[in-house]
């Protein structure tokens, strides 16, 4: 904008625009999908275009949990705890077949879908999903935020 110009908007819209442009994911890689999750941060895909390049190492500072891989029975309570430690509003992407449904691991050790543990906002199909797929999931989250969505449990309440 040139100096002297200005725009008018509702405070809600401005706040949502800011919020949707700074969705910070939690640093949490569970399996091979995490490799694709890492590759969205590189210069080819560049998740920084959407303001989400800041992977936070603490759930207290993260808005988005990307469940990137199969969830072992032993990992499930830890994921639940991390989700509970994230500040509201918060979003969850279930990345890949394993996180969404157990995938090929139809066995005793793997949780059959992370939505039995935490509420999921966007599922990304694929084994593993392409980085474009994950970016599109992030775009859907941003769209939800701009439309006033609060994510997860709050969205249903």
């Amino acid at each position: 904008m040139m100096p002297g110009q200005f725009m008018l908007g509702k405070l809600d819209d401005v706040a949502r625009w800011a919020q949707s442009s700074s969705v910070w994911p939690l640093t949490m890689g569970l399996a091979c999908c995490a490799i694709e999750m890492m590759s969205v941060t590189n210069s080819t895909y560049d998740i920084a275009r959407f303001g989400s390049e800041v992977f936070r190492a603490s759930p207290r500072q993260a808005d988005l949990m990307i469940v990137s891989g199969r969830v072992a029975q032993k990992m499930a309570p830890i994921i639940k705890r991390l989700y509970d430690q994230m500040a509201d509003p918060k979003w969850v992407i279930s990345m890949g077949a394993c996180a969404s449904s157990g995938g090929v691991f139809d066995n005793y050790a793997i949780v059959q879908g992370v939505d039995t543990v935490v509420p999921v906002d966007v599922y990304v199909p694929g084994c593993p999903p392409t980085p474009d797929g994950l970016l599109y999931a992030l775009n859907l989250i941003q769209q939800q935020i701009r439309q006033g969505g609060r994510g997860g449990i709050l969205a249903k309440a």
Binding site: Q73, K74, D106, N107, Y108, A109, Q112
Partner: protein, 208 residues
């Protein structure tokens, strides 16, 4: 095509040393649970300074049911010259463990890395290592019931074993009800079914 050179099913499935009596780079010893510790102490004194791994095998119907395999390595003591390469000595010690109340003496005091390896065997096979200082589960959650690598443990877990699998998982190029390919595979399937208490009928047993 049946061939006399094919080892018998009992030989292949139940005693690996019968199938592979000599492996080029490793000696294979079989000891009873009683003399295991003495043998391992002896091997350690003879230069097997490194315990590479401890493995467990469940043969389900064999007596003794389990094998616990100790992989030992003796690094060459003599420094190798410029032209030669020191050859390490590898020893594999097999100890049979009975199926009811399976137990072996712990060797955590001989090789400290046996601590976690024994916890892993305990976790997945339920073999108790007597004298182990901290015999807890290491892979599965502490409150887990059962030992998943046992052959009679249901693959999908006890809770979900009875629930039907999703339809897409049943699609296969093998017609439903077809026996698994190969005589060895069929015999193994039969053994597992018998051990689980399921009734199996084969063409041989259907004689009038």
């Amino acid at each position: 095509m049946p061939s006399s050179q094919v080892p018998s099913i009992a030989g292949t499935a139940l005693d690996p040393t019968a199938l592979r009596p000599a492996i080029a780079d490793a000696e294979i010893l079989r000891v009873g649970p009683g003399e295991l510790r003495a043998k391992l102490i002896e091997l350690r004194a003879a230069g097997c300074s490194m315990l590479l791994d401890i493995g467990g095998v469940d043969y389900l119907e064999r007596d003794p049911r389990f094998d616990v395999v100790y992989h030992l390595l003796a690094l060459p003591v003599k420094p190798a010259g410029v032209a030669e390469v020191g050859v390490p000595r590898r020893v594999r010690v097999l100890a049979g463990v009975p199926g009811d109340a399976p137990a072996l003496p712990s060797i955590h005091d001989l090789w400290p890395n046996a601590d976690w390896a024994e916890r892993e065997i305990y976790d997945l096979f339920g073999i108790v290592f007597e004298g182990h200082p901290d015999l807890r589960r290491i892979q599965m959650p502490y409150e887990w019931e059962g030992h998943p690598l046992r052959k009679d443990y249901p693959l999908r877990g006890p809770a979900r074993e009875a629930t039907p699998r999703p339809a897409f998982a049943l699609k296969s190029n093998v017609p439903a009800g077809a026996p698994p390919g190969g005589k060895v595979a069929a015999a193994l399937q039969k053994q597992i079914a018998r051990a689980r208490g399921q009734v199996v009928s084969t063409p041989e047993e259907k004689k009038p």
